[in-house]
């Protein structure tokens, strides 16, 4: 046997689950410390002219789409599948999570082009989670649907990996 230096893969999915607190942090109550409720994740759409990127720390309405049928802040993401992790070797692994249903904006009119969706934690003070871009779109009296990729180590929407 040999020992191998590595970040533990399980640690990454546990971070997604909020099971470690390595510094002081003020949280919005999850009702119970021993059986906390799941945070609500929301998805907001942003205009092609917006600046949403890795430096985005919280959701803000600046640059967000607006139009008939769209509510500022976006829609709630269906989250029925908890984050998980898989080892690929003694030194590498992936923690991953994907919303469990498509993100749908039904009967909206968004006439100014948009190309970005921001996922953020609605429960925890609107803290930003991830930014995903796609080809520029407009919607006219129609529905915009974002279908999620397969939830696995190579295609999940949100993946943390050791190398």
């Amino acid at each position: 046997m040999a020992n191998t230096q590595s970040m533990c893969t399980s640690f990454m999915s546990e971070l997604m689950l909020g099971q470690h607190q390595l510094g002081t942090s003020t949280l919005v109550s999850r009702t119970s410390l021993t059986a906390p409720t799941t945070d609500t994740v929301k998805a907001a759409l942003f205009l092609t002219s917006a600046t949403i990127n890795a430096a985005t720390t919280v959701y803000a309405a600046t640059g967000e789409v607006s139009g008939t049928g769209y509510t500022a802040g976006g829609v709630t993401v269906t989250n029925a599948t908890a984050p998980t992790s898989t080892n690929s070797s003694a030194t590498a692994g992936v923690a991953y999570w994907t919303p469990s249903a498509s993100i749908t904006y039904t009967t909206v009119t968004l006439t100014t082009a948009f190309d970005t969706v921001l996922l953020y934690n609605f429960t925890q003070s609107l803290k930003a989670i991830s930014v995903h871009t796609f080809g520029s779109q407009t919607i006219t009296a129609g529905t915009f649907t974002l279908t999620m990729p397969t939830n696995n180590t190579s295609t999940a929407l949100l993946r943390l990996a050791t190398t």
Binding site: M7, A141, T155, A161
Partner: protein, 64 residues
């Protein structure tokens, strides 16, 4: 088939239908438009996110 439009629900037989697809490494997008007398009255889009970037690439530090 009734289509929701900016003029209210309309039968699609009265409208000109246009469709398109964008397929690349990041997404598969299909869109559908309905036009009435040269005016866009309905547009829907369906984006399938294929593969997202890995966030991170964490390493541990050798001690000592």
């Amino acid at each position: 088939m009734l289509v929701t439009t900016t003029k209210g629900d309309m039968d699609d037989s009265l409208l000109e239908k246009r469709e398109g697809t964008v397929d690349n490494d990041n997404e598969l997008t299909t869109w559908i438009e309905y036009w009435l007398d040269g005016e866009l009255v309905h547009r829907s889009a369906h984006v399938t996110l294929k593969k997202m970037p890995v966030f991170g690439g964490g390493e541990t530090q050798v001690i000592g």
